[in-house]
């Protein structure tokens, strides 16, 4: 999308630490990225790589858990979200930044009608009266393709199917015309046909409404079809950040390359076993002193164990945090 224009969201050096009984866990380590207007940024990585936590940290959604969020800045809409009051942050949530979560079956409150839940942010952020909010809620449901919207407002979440509930969640996230939509694995809990419908819907809405989207997923197929840029996360860090075509054509980080190899192909030999990345992502009890992927990396050498590689640019908008150069097969 547009390369020019200031970023709508500019994150610099974000760090999140959870205090647990076992000790401090460094879930997000010095994450920096920006999001341009109208752009769709894909975030990929295994479970536990810090994708969701990063996005929830931005906006103070980690709740009552003992999490400390710190960093240089998170600039959004002329504010630094790390340094605003809780009330100001709350005003951004749902209004400036919308959220769609993974599991639509549990993300809606079962005892309130869909209409009530849709109208809540409208009344809260936009100061609408119940009548105006109702009108807008009907429009929103129509926007996300729910037939008979007027009538369905008084239905409860359990009267909707999974795909329909996710549409409601999307309508709710879009209700106050957010500049940024954060979609945390919005299609993971849905079956494939519904997933395709939701993807189509999001593509369509994105062009209609022109907001920037952060799309968290571990499905590289989804990312390939929808994203402009992709951010690969591992151990709470961004290990590679590149435009989508560049990333698939020319992956630099061993982790990205391994991830791409794990995607099963319909074509090709059936005799070949599905590839896996051996081992588990690390749990970091201290800020990384070495490359967090080194324990699972086929190319790790002494430098990887001695220092944490910094992010370097290897091309136009293509960053990677690795000491190893896949072109030459040698250390950079």
């Amino acid at each position: 999308m547009s390369e020019d224009g200031a970023a709508v969201l500019d994150v610099k050096d974000l760090r999140t630490v959870f205090e647990t009984a076992q000790g401090a866990i460094h879930a997000v380590n010095s994450v920096s990225f920006d999001l341009r207007p109208g752009e769709l940024l894909g975030v990929v990585g295994e479970s536990g790589s810090g994708k969701s936590v990063t996005m929830m940290s931005l906006i103070g959604l980690l709740g009552t858990t003992a999490a400390t969020v710190d960093g240089a800045h998170v600039n959004f809409d002329g504010m630094d979200l790390l340094r605003v009051t809780e009330d100001e942050l709350r005003a951004v949530r749902g209004a400036g930044i919308g959220f769609v979560f993974q599991d639509p079956m549990t993300s809606l409150n079962p005892v309130f009608t869909v209409g009530f839940q849709l109208m809540e942010p409208l009344r809260n952020h936009m100061g609408m009266t119940t009548r105006e909010a109702r009108q807008r809620a009907v429009e929103l449901l129509e926007l996300v393709g729910i037939a008979d919207a007027e009538k369905r407002l008084s239905d409860y979440p359990h009267q909707f199917s999974g795909g329909m509930r996710q549409r409601v969640m999307i309508a709710m996230a879009l209700s106050c015309d957010p500049k940024v939509l954060i979609a945390d694995e919005p299609t993971t809990a849905l079956d494939v046909t519904i997933q395709a419908q939701i993807l189509e819907l999001m593509k369509e809405l994105r062009h209609k409404l022109g907001m920037a989207i952060v799309w968290i997923t571990h499905d590289l197929g989804v990312i390939a079809g929808i994203a402009d840029r992709v951010m690969v996360m591992y151990g709470g860090q961004i290990v590679e950040l590149a435009p989508v075509i560049e990333l698939f054509k020319n992956p630099q980080h061993p982790y990205t390359r391994a991830l791409l190899q794990t995607v099963p192909s319909v074509r090709g030999s059936r005799a070949e076993r599905l590839r896996v990345i051996q081992g588990q992502p690390p749990i970091l009890f201290s800020p990384p002193q070495r490359c967090s992927y080194s324990a699972r990396c086929n190319h790790a050498f002494d430098r990887c164990l001695a220092a944490d590689p910094a992010r370097i640019s290897v091309g136009d908008g293509h960053d990677v945090a690795c000491f190893w150069d896949p072109e030459t097969g040698e250390p950079r």
Binding site: G63, N109, P110, V111
Partner: protein, 334 residues
């Protein structure tokens, strides 16, 4: 919902008939003698005659059917006839063996004391328990929660005959603030007498309320904790709702569903009276009536009281289910 309630009420009829029979048979098995409390000077032949006159010589099925007729037919017909002036309304009622007065009249006499003291303690207990449960869960492991947990444990595990006597010793004997005996004959006529009524109610109500609150606050806390980590709570926060709205509307509404059921199921216990607490504070309520009747071998009174408790339990089970259906839209009965 209406159809469901009617169906449940109809189904309750055979259940209650079975319960009344079981109670009757159990009481018949119990080795009690209605003449045992009479003076020892009464010769055995006279005692036997007294037993015969109470109907104890009849076969058990005759006695059971007689009670059924008196309770299910005569009592309601008497009331109807007296209300509408159809007839004299003096069919034979269920009579207490001890006092020879109708059991239903005895119950009506004692109901107000029980409702005032035990009912009030339940209301107070619930009103205390809900906020404590909510705050304890929201601030889990805080000092408030720790104290709440401790007090709940004490309230739940220390029996009322201990706490009752303890507060009597402290507040009546040492401090002399409240009367140790509940005066049933006291009439509230003016401000002064109202204050006296409040003062004599404070101790029994406090003792029972502590016990009730201990139980319900634990339920409330557990239910809140179940819901606080749900995904929909995160959604509500992500919408930018005030923390107060998130907790007091989104979480509370869900958490109340099981708690309301527990509260409704506890209501019959109010009518059952708090037998021990009523004894300790000399409140002559239903609990005390039951104890006296059991001790005196007064089978018709025990039978009737126990049966009424059974009716209340069945009714409030239904109430709990209906409330469940109202509070939780996912539950549909028809």
């Amino acid at each position: 919902m209406l159809n469901y309630s009617i169906r449940r009420l109809l189904l309750a009829i055979p259940t209650l008939i079975a319960i009344s029979l079981i109670i009757f048979l159990l009481l018949d098995l119990a080795p009690s003698d209605p003449t045992a409390n009479l003076p020892l000077t009464i010769p055995p032949e006279v005692r036997e005659k007294i037993r015969q006159s109470l109907g104890l010589g009849d076969p058990i099925y005759i006695r059971y059917l007689l009670w059924c007729k008196q309770f299910f037919v005569n009592e309601p017909l008497n009331i109807l006839e007296q209300w509408f002036g159809w007839g004299s309304g003096d069919r034979l009622r269920v009579l207490s063996w001890q006092t020879r007065s109708p059991v239903v009249d005895l119950i009506v006499e004692r109901m107000p004391q029980t409702l005032w003291v035990v009912g009030m303690s339940y209301v107070v207990g619930v009103l205390i328990a809900l906020p404590i449960g909510i705050i304890s869960a929201y601030r889990q492991y805080s000092w408030f929660d720790q104290i709440g947990t401790f007090v709940s444990m004490v309230g739940f595990s220390v029996p009322t005959f201990f706490t009752g006597v303890l507060v009597i010793v402290i507040f009546s004997v040492w401090l002399g603030w409240f009367p140790s005996i509940y005066d049933t004959t006291h009439q509230v006529t003016d401000w002064e007498s109202f204050l006296f009524q409040v003062r004599q109610m404070i101790m029994p109500v406090a003792v029972l309320a502590l016990f009730n609150a201990a139980q319900i606050s634990r339920f409330m806390r557990a239910s809140m904790l179940d819901n606080l980590n749900q995904d929909y709570v995160r959604t509500a926060r992500a919408k930018g709702l005030r923390e107060r709205t998130v907790v007091m509307i989104h979480v509370l509404r869900n958490s109340l569903i099981p708690v309301v059921t527990v509260i409704a199921l506890g209501v019959p216990q109010i009518f059952g009276g708090a037998i021990i607490t009523e004894q300790v504070f000399k409140v002559n309520g239903l609990g005390q009536l039951l104890i006296i009747s059991i001790q005196g071998g007064d089978l018709p009174t025990v039978q009737t009281l126990t049966f009424i408790f059974a009716v209340l339990i069945i009714v409030f089970n239904l109430v709990a289910d209906v409330l469940y259906g109202i509070l939780d839209p996912r539950i549909r009965y028809d």
